[in-house]
Symmetry: C2
Subunit: 106 residues, 2 copies
């Protein structure tokens, strides 16, 4: 493989990475929107916001379906970050009281 | 909304989350495979493995296309974790002198 060939191959791979990243980004934002809906339902129904057991299910789901090459540990760390960022957004929304108030007596 | 309605809605949202997570997982593994190809080409052509400028481009690509609700900072932190995990895999492969298997070689 000449240096020229290598640079050309790298360029093609980078185009793939950029396209994959935009699809990842879209799915991450879609997931965030669902998490926001979940938060809204829980607040309306006065259900507990944090459910550690559900988080375990999320990890079980992904590790059971992981065919690699990412290791289970790598996958877990990536999803921990994803879940953590979505939890942060939920907390910011709650603290800012962005949701329409349910007890309108204030 | 009754408690029953809420629980039912939550269940439906969780099904969506689980499906989104499997799509995310597949894209993450696909991205890892491309990163492995890039590593292979770079090693063959003796090109530098780490290119900080390319990493900047990756972040520029995603932040330029982020429509939210994830904030640019949240997106950046998630992708930092993704890139970091893939860099770790590359390093392990290099140190072990193991090329990612292609055609079921043992």
């Amino acid at each position: 493989m000449t240096r020229e060939d290598a640079l050309q191959a790298l360029e093609a791979y980078r185009v793939s990475i950029d396209a994959l990243d935009l699809r990842l980004l879209e799915l991450l934002n879609q997931r965030t929107r669902v998490v926001e809906e979940i938060g809204r339902v829980k607040r309306t129904a006065k259900l507990p916001i944090y459910e550690p057991r559900r988080e375990d299910q999320v990890f079980e789901n992904i590790t059971a379906h992981n065919g690699g090459p990412l290791t289970p540990e790598a996958v877990k760390r990536i999803f921990e970050r994803i879940i953590d960022e979505m939890r942060t957004i939920q907390r910011i929304r709650m603290e800012a009281g962005i949701e329409p108030s349910q007890d309108g007596d204030s």
